[in-house]
């Protein structure tokens, strides 16, 4: 062997073997990062989860705020952060999702560090490529600039989103905003989307454009029938999803849905949130005691909103009269069976929601008092009462319609003759819910995963979610203050003060938060219900043991 060969080809030494074995060890220990499919020790693979689902008006998260779209998108998309799964209902702890960690550099700068190796679904036009910071920037640029996006208020303080490097994104804020991370965790509108998909389809309304990085892929959408989701084999969370897929079944008829649940055709409760209607609960428990049941108080606020920018509802006496006219307890008992009168934040979010008796002077207006209602109306210049209209939608279910009719009757007893107008859900969400209506409207109008969303959009002038057209500088000032207040207790005090002031002014006549009972079949394991649109993550964590 010549000198060159002897220098470069000296055979395999012990050092070479040691290096090789160390390298091999490094590869083996990196295996979960490269191929994250090691099965959870407890989970059981297989089966199709059959559950009640919805027909979304469309699939674009930046052109709506309706729950049907966001529920459906939760299966195929991720967010930067998410609400923890496997917690008690009413708990909304934020944990990493696509971002593995984040850092607040100063009061107006937050940096998110993305997980590496997260892949888009293996469908054109993304074809399974890796998620990068550019995708996040594109998503939030679209979120902030899409003219039809009614959720922009959630990220109002965001000035811009910048790409630092391939896996790092920086949020620059116009002002301090303590709720930024919570906003990004809310399962509505902040799903990360891909530019190529928007370029290909023009928007994200078509079902074919529901392409994400989430635990499931959307295989098929049959309007009026079902949406079929199947496991994403390249999902980044090890082991998940356990089920092979989800059949998201459209069930508009309550009786048929209940019959389907009773007879095992679906795996979880047939009502919204995979619950069972309270009216059906006693009979179901009696005949199907083997099913699993879990109770909680909803974090959804139901109430009446009105055109406070116009007569007669620009007069606080008229608004207070409406509140006095409503017998909240009677409606709870007749329609919902369980529930509690609520302030601005739904009672289910107990750490941010004071009881009605803690609302100070505003608590007075929660008292059912038709006589006082009439007196207030007369004082406001309506001694003979007034005529108006009240808009609602049956899209949330039959109970809402029953409740509206009770409200209508109670208002009439106090001298307010409100003509009922029922609107189809999509039309309601596109118009009435965003303030385009006359007179009064009623329905669930805020869901509180944290207090900011339930207050800011609804009280800030010019925001689409300001359904009552409120223009009150004092409340805006308090909202701005709580957005900047880092200290939790100080912030809570401000939030409580806002709710006390809201109760006094009655821009929104808050009615109640209702009781909910989640139910599922015993073979559905590791499932934790919650009042959240994030069905996808909850479905990914559960497994079927049958």
């Amino acid at each position: 062997m010549d000198a060159f060969a002897s220098k470069h080809f000296r055979g395999v030494t012990r050092r070479d073997l040691l290096k090789a074995s160390l390298a091999a060890g490094a590869v083996v220990s990196a295996e979960p990062l490269l191929t994250p499919r090691r099965l959870h020790a407890q989970g059981k693979r297989g089966g199709i989860l059959r559950v009640r689902g919805y027909d979304p008006p469309h699939f674009d998260p930046h052109q709506t705020l309706n729950f049907k779209t966001n529920n459906t998108l939760s299966f195929v998309h991720n967010k930067l952060v998410r609400h923890k799964v496997g917690v008690a209902p009413g708990t909304f702890t934020v944990e990493p999702d696509l971002a593995e960690r984040w850092e607040e550099l100063d009061d107006t700068t937050v940096v998110f560090y993305l997980r590496r190796g997260v892949r888009w679904h293996n469908k054109p036009p993304v074809n399974g490529r890796e998620l990068t910071a550019e995708d996040v920037k594109f998503t939030f640029d679209r979120f902030l600039t899409e003219p039809a996006n009614p959720l922009k208020f959630m990220l109002d303080p965001v000035d811009r989103v910048e790409v630092v490097d391939r896996y790092t994104v920086r949020f620059r804020l116009k002002e301090p905003f303590v709720w930024l991370v919570n906003m990004l965790a809310n399962p509505t509108g902040t799903w990360i989307v891909a530019r190529e998909v928007v370029d290909k389809y023009g928007d994200l309304k078509k079902p074919e454009s529901a392409i994400g990085t989430g635990p499931f892929t959307l295989e098929r959408y049959d309007p009026n029938v079902k949406t079929v989701f199947r496991r994403n084999p390249t999902y980044y969370r090890a082991g998940e999803p356990w089920v092979d897929g989800v059949d998201w079944l459209v069930m508009e008829d309550a009786a048929a849905g209940l019959a389907a649940y009773r007879t095992g055709q679906i795996d979880c409760g047939n009502w919204h949130g995979w619950t069972v209607r309270q009216q059906d609960l006693a009979s179901l428990k009696k005949s199907q005691a083997q099913l699993v049941y879990r109770d909680w108080l909803s974090n959804v606020t139901q109430g009446i909103y009105m055109r406070t920018d116009k007569p007669p509802f620009n007069d606080v006496r008229v608004r207070r009269a409406i509140s006095h006219a409503i017998d909240r307890q009677a409606i709870i008992e007749s329609v919902w069976v369980k529930g509690e009168a609520t302030p601005a934040i739904g009672r289910g979010l107990t750490e941010w929601s004071p009881r009605v008796d803690q609302l100070g002077p505003g608590a007075t207006y929660y008292r059912y008092d038709p006589k006082e209602a009439r007196r207030l109306l007369a004082e406001a210049g309506f001694p003979n009462g007034l005529k108006t209209q009240i808009t609602a939608t049956p899209g949330y279910g039959i109970d809402i319609v029953d409740a509206v009719q009770m409200v209508q009757r109670q208002l009439k007893e106090s001298g307010i003759d409100a003509e009922l107008k029922l609107q189809e859900y999509g039309a309601y969400i596109g118009t009435t819910f965003l303030g385009k209506y006359e007179g009064l409207a009623m329905g669930p109008f805020s869901i509180a995963w944290e207090p900011h969303t339930a207050l800011y959009g609804m009280y800030t002038p010019e925001q689409p979610r300001n359904s009552s057209h409120v223009a009150d500088a004092r409340i805006v000032s308090m909202l701005k203050e709580q957005m900047r207040t880092k200290d939790l207790e100080a912030r809570r005090k401000i939030i409580f003060d806002i709710q006390r002031y809201a109760a006094d002014q009655q821009y929104y006549v808050y009615l109640y938060s209702v009781g909910a009972t989640g139910s599922w079949r015993p073979y559905v394991k590791n499932y934790s219900p919650n009042s959240s649109f994030d069905y996808g993550n909850r479905s990914a964590a559960l497994w079927l043991d049958r």
């Binding site: 309007p223 019959a259 055709q265």
Partner: protein, 313 residues
């Protein structure tokens, strides 16, 4: 017979042409604020001009009609504003479901109503007659959706069984596909059966009183022959007319049953399209229903000629 059929075909063609004008005119009669409402509620277009262009409202009316007619003849009914899919594809998926439900309901109602009506007429004022007439009144007066709801819920409570809520296509499981239609078809057919039974009884009673029938009795012809051979055909003419009308009613009125039993038919789609202000779909379904009604009437007219060779108008 051939001339008669050709004449009926000509009349049917004229009916279809007039119907197409009516269907075409439908969205053109929409007031401007309704188009604005579609934009506000659904964001079907970027702005008002864009949406009017999508609805074809931006050109001279005669051009719009001929362009639209040309597309219809080629099977292009436009695109659904809601699902963004071709209307013809949506109808192709849903029409078979509605037709299957409707035809099964009709078969059920005819197979029950005709024999029962005949027995009730022949055994007039007997116990059987009173029972069948009472049941017919019940069938006409009890709402079908109430029966359907009970039919879904009560077996689930009593026996742990309910009809399937997931629609199964024929190609996936033929037996499951057919069996999911049985219960809704029976319930849907009940009201139709009641009406046909009463009409059959009334018409047959009328015919049985005719002189020629009395002559047949006098000649000693058997009851079976008098009723089935000599009387029934004449009694069936108005019954066939009503059957033709009921086909159209069933096609357009199955929305409640489709909702309760989870069947993706045209009724439910039309209902959703109206709610969604999806005018291309509403137009397409209207055109389809009109075409089916015209064809049904043509079939009924041809059947008249078979039942009574004297009919040749």
């Amino acid at each position: 017979m051939r001339k008669y059929v050709l004449r009926r075909l000509l009349v049917a063609s004229a009916s279809l042409a007039i119907a197409s004008l009516a269907v075409f005119s439908l969205p053109r009669l929409i007031p401007g604020d309704a188009v604005q409402l579609m934009l506000d509620e659904r964001a079907y277009g970027k702005d008002l001009e864009d949406l009017r262009a999508k609805l074809g409202l931006d050109q001279p009316i005669y051009l719009q009609y001929f362009e639209w007619l040309g597309r219809v003849v080629r099977g292009q009914l436009g695109e659904s504003l809601w699902t963004r899919r071709p209307v013809i594809d949506e109808l192709a998926r849903r029409l078979p479901v509605s037709l299957e439900l409707g035809l099964m309901a009709l078969c059920f109602s005819i197979s029950i109503a005709l024999p029962v009506g005949i027995v009730a007429a022949v055994r007039q004022d007997s116990f059987a007659d009173y029972v069948t007439r009472s049941l017919a009144i019940l069938g006409l007066s009890v709402p079908g959706f109430w029966i359907a709801t009970l039919a879904v819920l009560l077996p689930a409570i009593w026996w742990g069984w309910s009809p399937p809520i997931q629609f199964t296509e024929f190609s996936v499981d033929p037996w499951a596909h057919v069996s999911q239609f049985v219960l809704p078809a029976v319930i849907l057919g009940v009201a139709s059966a009641a009406a046909i039974m009463r009409l059959t009884r009334a018409m047959l009673l009328d015919v049985l009183r005719q002189d020629y029938v009395r002559t047949a009795w006098a000649k000693g012809v058997s009851e079976r022959c008098v009723v089935l051979k000599h009387s029934l055909k004449n009694a069936l003419i108005p019954v066939v007319t009503v059957l033709g009308i009921q086909v159209a009613q069933i096609l357009g009125g199955t929305v409640i049953f489709e909702t309760i039993f989870g069947l993706p038919g045209m009724g439910r789609f039309l209902f959703d399209a109206i709610n969604q202000r999806d005018y291309p779909v509403i137009q397409g379904i209207n055109l389809l229903i009109v075409s089916v009604v015209v064809v049904m009437n043509l079939t009924v007219d041809a059947f008249y000629a078979y039942l009574d060779p004297r009919i040749r108008y």
